[in-house]
């Protein structure tokens, strides 16, 4: 594998880069106001002014997909950040120290892990109320156990290794060992997991919006747009295709990227 080019990494990186650029542009600039309605352009097809056509309210689909994918990205990034941060913290501490705290936390972890994450998030949303930030909290919590497990198993493996034992003998403090010595060594396993987690978060956000919780109308998100497009699938296929293709590209990009990271020598 040493000499072969890592095509997964290259293609994945390229797609992800382009999609990130697309989404971030949506934050600063859109060709049209994504929420402005225009009765004359209801279900209008692809045109020079509106490259992706218009939806059932005559809103510009390109602008909506841009803003929508940014909203989706925003939820996904924060969800993964939240999941990774607490996952690493819990995994590192329980894996390193072990003992009764480890047992308790990991059993709670198992319990959360046993629920489908969407169902878990639904329960949280029904308690906290819907809305973008609550969905982030709900999905974030649902994502913690997966990361915690991965990090914990890495810590269990590394803490018995010679370099850690000698670090102990050299009198280096626990926190320094955890975060400076073991964590960087756990990164090769953690990074692809984060990438896959990111994919799952994008899908989960789309799923939550599809169910009508999460981003509230008229603000777009990829899931919301797909959900709204269902009724008009045949009348205006572009309403499904536009958010659908963007969603596929995002997921594809991140999947290839995470594959590529795995194969890295």
């Amino acid at each position: 594998m040493g000499n072969a080019k890592n095509y997964n990494l290259i293609i994945g990186g390229a797609i992800t880069g382009i999609m990130l650029l697309f989404m971030l542009t949506g934050f600063f600039y859109t060709p049209h106001d994504p929420n402005i309605m225009n009765a004359e352009l209801k279900f209008a097809g692809i045109s020079f002014n509106h490259p992706f056509g218009n939806d059932n309210f005559g809103r510009d689909l390109l602008s909506r997909v841009m803003v929508g994918s940014f909203n989706t990205l925003y939820v996904a990034v924060l969800t993964v950040l939240c999941g990774t941060f607490f996952g690493v913290l819990i995994g590192a501490l329980t894996g390193y120290y072990g003992g009764i705290i480890d047992e308790i936390l990991m059993r709670i972890n198992d319990t959360i892990f046993a629920f489908p994450s969407i169902l878990l998030a639904l329960v949280f949303v029904s308690i906290l109320g819907s809305g973008r930030n609550n969905v982030i909290i709900a999905l974030g919590i649902a994502f913690i156990p997966g990361f915690a497990r991965i990090v914990r198993s890495e810590f269990l493996k590394h803490k018995k290794m010679d370099y850690i034992v000698s670090a102990h003998l050299a009198g280096i403090g626990d926190l320094r060992i955890i975060f400076r010595h073991i964590l960087p060594n756990a990164a090769p396993v953690l990074l692809p997991a984060v990438m896959i987690g990111f994919n799952n978060a994008v899908l989960a956000e789309a799923g939550m919006s599809f169910l009508g919780i999460g981003v509230q109308p008229p603000d777009p998100s990829l899931g919301r747009m797909l959900s709204e497009a269902q009724s008009y699938m045949f009348r205006s296929p572009v309403m499904v295709l536009a958010p659908g293709i963007v969603l596929i590209l995002i997921i594809l990009g991140f999947s290839l990227l995470s594959d590529g990271l795995n194969k890295r020598p």
Partner: protein
């Protein structure tokens, strides 16, 4: 044409995959019985009560209409015909109603309707022990007398020209201990079973006194997802879905008839007057000026719909005042001016709570958000489940504004207007206006129909002038029904009459 082929191809694929997936467990249920079964889509579950006297949601009442009847029942022309009574006379002073009961009207459990059952039902609805009578107009009953086995006399305290309309109140057997879970009535259909969140099944009542229903079984099935109605209809999950959005009606293939009527409701942005800044008249008026109902109709129903200016729908011509439609004609400048007068020159922000199961209301809310933006007011939409809407908005009154349609439970002006009385328990608007209360009380007390109409119209005028709500429209009603079935009739009320349907050969 291509699209329709695609529709057929797609539904065929869905059917094939479903047949493969479910073939093992479902057997061939559909085969021979399907000819006398109709599956009707319901936008929400029947959550509130199966007791016809306690049901509040319009969606429940339109289903229970098939199970229960009163002494009289409404027709599709807006008239009243004797039902459980065969005949009635009203004394000249308007205070005594004498009903001769029809011979041999059977309840669904086989027993015969007796004068005691009628008295029991009327007394139950007039009972004030649990805070206000179940049927508000029944507060006017002084006594219900049983003259003999087949004759009943209702005495009123004050004459009431609308009283006949409320006698559509269901007659139920006095002997039924559980009206909440085991609904027994006299209607053309009898209750068979209910599966929460799934369906409500009724079967033809073969001992019905009048013209028996044509179709043997009606399955009212709860629509799981309003966005997939088209696929559900094409795939055969539903034979009929009332009130589908215009855009979905356009998607349906040739195997469905689309009937067009009106929903006979008042769709509005209903305002909680207890939530600031909506206690300020100018704020409400500004919102009214900012809303263009025609733009909403164009966006939501391709321009179909009828403008309303107060709490009365156009089909109720006796009370509908067309002039009120133009009281707040669309005027952005005027709206901004009023906002500055009210002390909000830079606008404000508020929440619109919308039940997520009603596509037309969700779409309307989205257009409203855009329209309010033009006057610098930020509206945020919050979608909630229908059940939460009932408890949060209708019961707890914990909301700022909401987009829904209000209907008349009986064909009376009172049914539309008494909820705005400051002390009415259905007043989820917290609307409180002494002038309105006086006019409403006068209307209720008037024995003379002309005066009564005059006071009701005053009430409507006051609602408009005080911008009680931001009135929008009476929604167009598109009923999608499989071409196998005929005989659908629109009522001037919120009713689905299944007994008139028949199978087309």
């Amino acid at each position: 044409m291509k699209r329709k082929e695609a529709v057929r191809f797609f539904s065929a694929m869905v059917l094939i995959s479903l047949t493969i997936a479910l073939g093992g467990c479902s057997g061939d249920k559909q085969g021979d019985v399907s000819s006398s079964v109709i599956t009707v889509g319901l936008p929400q579950d029947i959550e509130d009560s199966l007791d016809p006297h306690k049901a509040v949601a319009a969606g429940t009442r339109e289903v229970l209409f098939n199970l229960f009847e009163g002494l009289v029942k409404p027709t599709s022309d807006g008239d009243y015909i004797p039902a459980i009574a065969s005949d009635f006379t009203i004394a000249e002073n308007g205070l005594v109603y004498t009903f001769a009961l029809r011979e041999n009207v059977k309840f669904h459990d086989g027993s015969t309707v007796s004068a005691e059952d009628v008295k029991f039902s009327l007394d139950k609805c007039a009972d004030t022990s649990s805070g206000g009578p179940l049927v508000a107009a029944f507060a006017n009953i002084s006594e219900v007398l049983i003259l003999d086995e087949k004759t009943i006399e209702i005495h009123l305290i004050e004459p009431d020209t609308e009283f006949l309309a409320v006698l559509t109140t269901a007659i139920i057997p006095a002997s039924n201990p559980n009206p909440e879970t085991n609904p027994i009535g006299t209607g053309p259909y009898a209750y068979e079973s209910r599966s929460p969140q799934e369906n409500f099944i009724v079967t033809r009542f073969n001992d019905y006194w009048g013209d028996k229903a044509n179709i043997e079984k009606v399955i009212f099935k709860i629509i799981a997802n309003i966005d997939t109605i088209v696929m559900d209809l094409e795939g055969g999950s539903f034979d009929m879905v009332p009130r589908i959005p215009k855009s979905q009606a356009d998607e349906l293939s040739d195997s469905f008839n689309i009937l067009e009527g009106t929903m006979n409701l008042v769709q509005a942005l209903y305002i909680n007057h207890a939530a600031p800044p909506f206690d300020i008249l100018e704020v409400r008026q500004a919102l009214s000026y900012a809303v263009d109902p025609f733009e909403i109709m164009l966006m939501v129903s391709d321009g179909k719909g009828a403008e309303v200016g107060s709490s009365m729908f156009p089909a109720f011509t006796k009370y509908f005042i067309e002039d009120l439609n133009n009281f707040y004609s669309f005027d952005v400048e005027k709206a901004k001016e009023l906002l500055s007068d009210a002390g909000y020159p830079d606008g404000f922000s508020f929440t619109i709570t919308v039940p997520s199961n009603h596509a037309q209301h969700v779409d309307t809310a989205q257009v409203l958000v855009e329209q309010f933006k033009r006057i610098g007011v930020t509206a945020n939409i919050e979608l909630i489940e229908w059940e939460s809407w009932l408890s949060e908005v209708n019961t707890d009154r914990n909301y700022e504004t909401t987009v829904v349609g209000l209907v008349a439970t009986t064909l009376t002006a009172r049914a539309m207007l008494d909820r705005f009385h400051s002390e009415n328990r259905r007043n989820f608007n917290n609307y409180s206006n002494p002038e309105y209360d006086v006019n409403l009380e006068n209307a209720l007390a008037s024995a003379d129909d002309l005066m009564k109409t005059y006071y009701y119209k005053e009430c409507l005028r006051i609602l408009t002038e005080t911008a009680a709500n931001v009135y929008i429209q009476d929604l167009p009603d598109f009923v999608a029904i499989n071409k196998k079935f005929g005989g659908y009739e629109f009522y001037p009320m919120y009713i689905q009459d299944m007994a008139k349907l028949y199978i087309v050969d």
